[in-house]
Symmetry: C2
Subunit: 132 residues, 2 copies
Amino acid sequence: MDKKLQENMPIYVQIMNRVREAVAAGELKPGDRVAPVREMAQDFEVNPNTMQRALNELEREGLLVSERTAGRFVTEDKELISRLRSEMAVDTVDAFRREMAALGYSDEEMMEFFRKRCEVTGSGALTLERIG
Amino acid sequence: MDKKLQENMPIYVQIMNRVREAVAAGELKPGDRVAPVREMAQDFEVNPNTMQRALNELEREGLLVSERTAGRFVTEDKELISRLRSEMAVDTVDAFRREMAALGYSDEEMMEFFRKRCEVTGSGALTLERIG
DNA sequence: ATTATTGTACTAATTAAATAATACAATAAT
DNA sequence: ATTATTGTATTATTTAATTAGTACAATAAT
């Protein structure tokens, strides 16, 4: 789970998305304990209040559960997690199609553009370029 | 060019993107006159100041030019426009791959997911669903 | 020449996000 | 029992985006 945040979206929302992704991708597994609020705040270089806001909302979603002083954990509900992953993927694909369509690309052209882009840049090149 | 705006990104940035897309897609052509600031502000249901901020920045980018009292126009620089379109498409594809990769999808799986999603929803279904 | 339309500039007020600084509550560890 | 660690709550401050309101400047239209 990468920590550098972008601009133009509330930090707490960005954090929520990062955690959602980490859980959806299986980087954080059901029942896994996550770091304490204060520690996560340091990791992400944000204020503890901001981190708590993000974590609280993720709890409302059922993705995390807090057990008072034992810490905070990823839900055991694997069904919920796999549903989350699917929904996020659908949203991502739809957002992609919508944006490319807005630029005047047909579904076929998108496909072709995607394929070409995969050839040019390997699989690993993107993350570092974009986030760093 | 659709007008409804989303949350979580500064409105003026969202407006900039909408205009960029409209120009890149050829919906606004080189030399086209755009509506006056005040009118656009009403169309987008934002404050005139906010609209002007967006338009000003688009001018700094060279995409728009203002001619004092005659109004504001799309640049005649077609080279600039086609370059913009390419860059936006690349950014969009890269963002897509990055997000899907974060969810644990390989390039091949993304491709397959994309294809399936295109089958399920036609080409037109997305815009209304998402933006409305 | 006058007027209306256009872009531009400026100051103030509002709102939400983020930070800062503490304090409290519950419990696992000792 | 005590202590340290954890989540939680609260209040104030700061910062940036947005709105509000107004005024000015240039010029096309009349």
